[in-house]
Symmetry: C2
Subunit: 490 residues, 2 copies
């Protein structure tokens, strides 16, 4: 542990020499604004904050950290949901919010080159005039950064068809935890040597900082249709999902919400979903116009056959946006119907979805803890929201138990402890539920190859004794971003 002489505050003059006076934050009140990310249970005030603007500045900051044994934590927009950007009082927080330049849009090669602080949706905005978009679309895409997406290997509703972030990154410039600037890949599809892009994407800031990112652009589909189907029960909705996949349709997205999630979304954004639904299914189809039309008919018929009592179609952007608004707002909106809740994230093979949802219902009934389900049904990626009242003695503990038990269910059913939100500090202690000692030791060896001194986002991802026993992330009350109009945060 660095002392005051070598700790982050002592580095301030040298950091100012690198990033300029306005690129270094030492004021306690300003530092406090970085104390947590998308979940507010974890918080810590960073020892010092730097706002570099160039790769050279990032490398110089990291080299200073390495030289003095000071840990650093990278941070994009701070919308993460597993505490991956949780600062350290003894460390430097490296914030990429001044690195927001779209460097190049190369349409003939279908690539964009961006700085890490660029907002996800801004890549699509830059490509849209050319008929392209950037496919990975986490619900927070208006404000989350591409660098953060790299760290978490972010998904989104459309990764069923288009894949995760890792499938869309072809080149990276990174600053390693020793301060070296290294290039991985480029614009061409497959680079020789180790595909370190694959492992850097999703490494949650523990292998360094991406300073320039080359992503694949995807041609905007000729037509996109969105279908909203209401079912009496989750079971009926699940049958529809299975029937759609079995019929060989590959929708761009298949999202499901249960009654409680629908109730929350209605309360927050009045999305106008059919009343009395036990489950709402959103199916998005995209591609060539006639193809989409044919699939749309097929999906409608399959939903009806599975018991849908209402099916609504949307082809125009405004109506589609209205359908999506409910879904994208659901997480944050749950604060309207519960004083506090845990945002859980797990994944199971799609065929296990029905079984796992039934077990979650049982867990909920037995514990008296309500669970709202919002999920990427096509991927088997569950997002249970575990609701409780933290004024009620013992409720938080029971909620944490239910939340943990859901992860056990996922692992039991051949799935994993996180679908797309990452491990961060939140799930580091759950890693041994999935991985053997050999598995974890291999990961640690790999980490140490990049970061021999353990200064890059330490105590995230891999379990350390200090962390285990902490509770998962809890949101209390309505999320502040719902009120401010940024409801589609998660």
């Amino acid at each position: 542990m660095p002392d005051a002489m070598t700790g982050p505050a002592a580095l301030a003059p040298r950091l100012r020499a690198v990033c300029g006076a306005d690129g270094v934050v030492t004021d306690p009140a300003r530092r406090r604004t970085y104390e947590s990310d998308g979940i507010t249970y974890h918080s810590a005030v960073p020892g010092i904050v730097v706002l570099p603007e160039t790769t050279g500045q990032v490398a110089a900051v990291v080299r200073l950290c390495a030289e003095h044994g000071v840990p650093f934590v990278p941070r994009g927009s701070g919308t993460g949901l597993s505490g991956g950007a949780l600062p350290r009082p003894d460390g430097v927080l490296v914030v990429t919010s001044r690195m927001r330049r779209v460097i190049e849009v190369d349409i003939p090669n279908e690539r964009a080159v961006v700085q890490p602080g660029v907002f996800n949706l801004d890549v699509t905005r830059a490509a849209a005039p050319h008929g392209y978009h950037y496919a990975p679309d986490p619900s927070s895409r208006q404000v989350c950064s591409v660098g953060g997406n790299i760290a978490e290997n972010s998904g989104g509703a459309h990764c069923l068809k288009y894949g995760f972030t890792v499938n869309h990154v072809t080149g990276l410039e990174i600053v390693t935890p020793r301060g070296d600037v290294v290039r991985l890949g480029g614009k061409a599809p497959d680079a020789p040597g180790y595909d370190l892009i694959g492992v850097f994407v999703g490494s949650e800031g523990t292998l360094g900082i991406a300073t320039e990112i080359t992503v694949r652009l995807t041609r905007a589909p000729q037509r996109t249709s969105t279908l909203l189907a209401a079912f009496p029960t989750m079971d009926a909705g699940g049958r529809a999902v299975s029937a759609i996949i079995a019929a060989g349709v590959l929708p761009a997205a298949v999202e499901m919400m249960d009654a409680l999630a629908v109730e929350a979304a209605e309360a927050a954004v009045r999305c106008g979903y059919p009343e009395g639904a036990g489950a709402v299914l959103i199916v998005e189809l995209d591609g060539a116009a006639e193809d989409v039309a044919a699939q749309f008919e097929a999906v409608t018929a399959l939903c009806r056959a599975a018991g849908a009592f209402a099916v609504r179609a949307a082809d125009d952007p405004a109506e589609r946006a209205r359908i999506w608004k409910g879904r994208r707002s659901a997480f944050a909106a749950v604060g309207r119907i519960s004083p506090a809740y845990i945002v859980q994230d797990g994944v199971v093979p799609r065929t296990a979805l029905g079984g796992v949802l039934a077990r979650i219902s049982e867990l909920s009934a037995r514990s008296g803890i309500r669970v709202a389900n919002v999920f990427h049904a096509g991927d088997g990626n569950l997002h249970p929201l575990v609701l409780f009242d933290d004024a009620e003695p013992g409720a938080a503990e029971r909620a944490a138990e239910v939340s943990g038990a859901i992860l056990d269910l996922c692992v039991e059913h051949g799935g994993s402890i996180t679908g797309e939100h990452g491990v961060g500090v939140d799930k580091a202690c759950h890693m041994p539920r999935m991985f053997s000692d050999d598995d974890l030791a291999t990961m640690d060896l790999f980490r140490r190859a990049f970061d021999p001194d353990g200064i890059a986002n330490p105590e995230k991802v891999l379990p350390t004794p200090r962390l285990c026993g902490e509770r998962p992330g809890v949101v209390r009350g309505e999320h502040p971003l719902v009120a401010s109009g940024q409801a589609e945060l998660f």
Copy 2:
């Protein structure tokens, strides 16, 4: 370097205790059958060969190697094209040919689980009755192993639309170079922790041996149409490719061959391509029937507009197979028109294709060395075949120079030194053309995290002084597999 007492031969009794008497090959004549892979320039007789049948046996073999400091080289079917499976006289060759079990075909989850020795095409054969296939399709798919595909991150004609091997692997059981059995991923789409699958795939045997592989199965398209278009010049063919991509069509494959490659293919397999073509383009379209029909019309019109003088369509499997036979046979068939040739493999951003091909023509004209071009045009993945007569003094050297200059062209144009054949021993010394010292040092750190003693396929992939200066792989005369009916090897 191990001496006779601790070298591979001394391990024979202990290896027999692990793999059984018939699982260990010490006889020099039998060992010699493993001396090279798909290119015959490099050869070395392995110190000893083992043929394990289970994960436990592979782990026990590797632990013995680790204990005694003996290097090991993994080998699948030996169809590689960069000398990645080149044995070592001082090492153990671990051959997976007895690990050919398809463990599970899980249609509801769209996955297959296979042992590493399973032939690529046998995954598709196992899935076909259910309407599925395994998408990555190197030309050698009848005989190459899935384990070898993992090692090389193999592509194939259809990776334009479907991606490389890495996009189709969701789970791996590996034996690390220290003999630990480690699981990466599974059937679910995204696992927490480091995505070591991404980096293991394409690591060319330097990080251990995959012993169980979980792959994604892809639904067979409703319809597949193949179009063969003949152009007067390569330029005209290239214009057609650009027009197709710019029109927003995403074909399953876009392959191009020049006049010399067509001549060789005709001589070998009489594929009946139109006479007098300066370039032949093969475009495969797949998807929903009406979609394919519409795209087919569009592609035909674009080819005609770019100057195609003949366009031939094939919908039925027999006619499609005939079109593909010429393409898939082209590499091996070049032996019919040249006593010797170098198989080169490079990649450039698609937009640079025209410029690079023109420069290759200039190189060829200036040096008097003929170059036949066969390539995945949609991906920008070139496979120039550099022809020469090794009876002619100095020809081999000039061919090697041309071949090396082609790689320089690829790097200059923002591409890379290998598209899909890997680095192996063949291109290890070219790595510094693409990567800085920091880049290579980072790769080496990563390698050593898995393999601290440097026993896993040493001297492959990363440059070592001993290797540099060697010539690229050369094939002399007609490849033996053309004569034996396995012409579609590469």
